[in-house]
Subunit: 368 residues, 2 copies
């Protein structure tokens, strides 16, 4: 399949995604029968463009990185998605149209990301996103809409970047129920806590994360625990069937005073970590994000720097932990690539089933 991609948001992640698709095109075609071209790009600050003939996105990425604009904006981002889907009606019909949503997290309502997802699905496009907002605020509604549209809504990059979390549970743990989890899911605060227990100041550690492009554009999203709360809500909604939003996750972030706590804990052979927890008690699901002082032999206590981990509790397999030992832009971009491969795999099934129906009808007609 050649997918036609509409990129909504063209920041670091989307540009790295475009580069990665290009770098891995040989293996993607050979091993996964996936190729892709970009037909639309819409950005907040650099304009927008659409071409059914395909866009050289790697070249456009270079232009954007030099600070140049693409084409002046004519439509709002949501209108752009609707328009792109209309103009790509053939690709949409052939299940080859994919909207790639990489706008930044809006912690108030998850918008306009949710509107982008809806516009894409109702236009016959699949949606893949690295944005936590849609799954954190509206997972069940969007999953229903995707189901009705017979298209996919995937978001592997929303938690632990390219480390497969949602895929792990969906693809490799059939008939297993996740009953809860605890984890460290925000890289900025984990880096800061590790730096502070070595004596560095809160401000200094935060400045480094901002300089390295790891902290969210608005660093209060990291520090106040919002990013972790959004990931926690997304995980709980998808894996435990919860109906949380980031606002219903009990939340406590880190502050300059966390330095004293981290130093004291360390002196006592313990570690302070910003821990996300979800527990199920019958039908009730509770979720929280808060700093915790952990014994040194706790798996989460050993996470240095930007490392993340989630320890899942399951009904059949006891606890399984997945640890992300290194994070980077490439990892988040990779999550989008893996979502694309997932769609390609399922398209094989859908198309085969569709052809079966069609040919069965044709046989009936030819007999009558």
């Amino acid at each position: 399949v050649t997918f036609d991609l509409v990129l909504v948001g063209f920041g670091n992640v989307a540009r790295r995604f475009v580069g990665l698709l290009h770098e891995r095109r040989t293996i993607l075609e050979r091993d996964h029968q996936v190729s892709a071209r970009v037909v639309g790009i819409v950005t907040r600050r650099h304009g927008q463009m659409f071409s059914l003939k395909g866009i050289d996105a790697v070249a456009v990425a270079r232009r954007v990185e030099r600070g140049e604009s693409i084409q002046p904006p004519a439509l709002s981002s949501v209108e752009f998605v609707r328009d792109a889907a209309r103009r790509s009606a053939t690709a949409a019909h052939e299940r080859r149209l994919v909207v790639v949503e990489t706008t930044t997290l809006d912690i108030a309502r998850g918008e306009p990301a949710i509107a982008h997802v809806r516009a894409a699905l109702s236009g016959g496009a699949h949606v893949i996103t690295a944005n936590k907002g849609p799954a954190a605020f509206a997972y069940h509604a969007l999953a229903r809409e995707a189901n009705r549209a017979n298209r996919r809504f995937l978001f592997e990059g929303a938690v632990m970047d390219g480390i497969p979390i949602f895929n792990l549970v969906r693809e490799t743990l059939p008939a297993v129920a996740i009953t809860g989890f605890r984890g460290v899911v925000n890289s900025t605060t984990n880096f800061m806590l590790t730096a502070m227990e070595q004596g560095r100041s809160f401000e200094d550690a935060l400045a480094e994360m901002q300089a390295r492009g790891i902290a969210e554009a608005d660093p209060t999203l990291d520090i106040d625990g919002w990013d972790a709360a959004a990931k926690t809500a997304a995980l709980a909604n998808v894996l435990l069937g919860a109906r949380l939003t980031p606002r219903t996750v009990k939340r406590q972030g880190i502050t300059p005073d966390s330095r004293r706590q981290a130093l004291e804990a360390r002196a006592a052979g313990r570690r302070v970590k910003l821990v996300a927890r979800v527990d199920r008690d019958g039908r009730r699901i509770t979720a929280s994000v808060a700093p915790e002082s952990l014994p040194e032999n706790d798996l989460l206590a050993g996470l240095e720097g930007q490392q993340n981990a989630i320890i899942f509790r399951t009904d059949l397999l006891d606890e399984i932990a997945v640890v992300q030992r290194g994070g980077s832009l490439t990892q988040t971009a990779y999550a989008l690539v893996s979502d694309l491969v997932t769609i390609a795999r399922e398209n094989v099934v859908s198309r085969a089933v569709a052809v079966r129906r069609k040919t069965t009808r044709a046989i009936r007609r030819s007999r009558s």
Copy 2:
């Protein structure tokens, strides 16, 4: 699909597998369209039986657990598999016949497990196994045979029980290359090392593992590092394309003297672990199993008791670690269930494609 299962080996794992299939039958049918019945059982000491009408395997398991025999053996286990495949020709043709291989590891050559796999594939059956031998000794040959037969050869339970390792890489890491790994993959020796650093004796710790049914029937397989070497070879063969056998893995086990080393390491703030390592240097792949003294903050150092973990190095995603925090018979049995679901999923594709071919031919005939 209703799978017809032929059980080769009917020990703890196979009996728990039968129980688990029964316990989870509702969710397996509803969510994965998988149901299964047993048509054949062949054991080493309890006889054998075959019935196209289906066998009440849960009842037979109870009889075997009381020490009763099933039916006197008439055929060798390999002949039994061939005969069962012949008598199940319809199920084999419909891709519904699955041989479930759970005999114990033979560390000299991986036999007769490899012969069971070959007999099954050439009879048109899929094979799922919890035995490390086939993938450790003959992965590439068996994968080729499975490919030619258009059937699956799966062995998720060979490493870390039900924790998805092979599935993780195959299903959720498309276009990512595994470049090496290190891990703790043998539960008995890890339990013994943890017990010895707390002062218990080698013999006492081993006796507990044997009493709890965790140690291999022949405990030298654990202690001398053979079990770990077989897992290492299987992982390297499948994930890195290596051509190892357990005998070409450099191997050093644990001895009563390991107690002194473990105590000394612990006093120095370190931990002794039996570490499996695989590294790629260009085309050369080296593999080893040996006790190593690790700093306390190493993820592997923190593995207590029977916990296992593998830290994969990848080309795109840096390091990913998967940690098994609890192990049990149910986990190993679950690996077989998950392999069955994998086969069911792929059968959907294969059948749809086959129907497409058939109906296309039918249309052509009806037109001519």
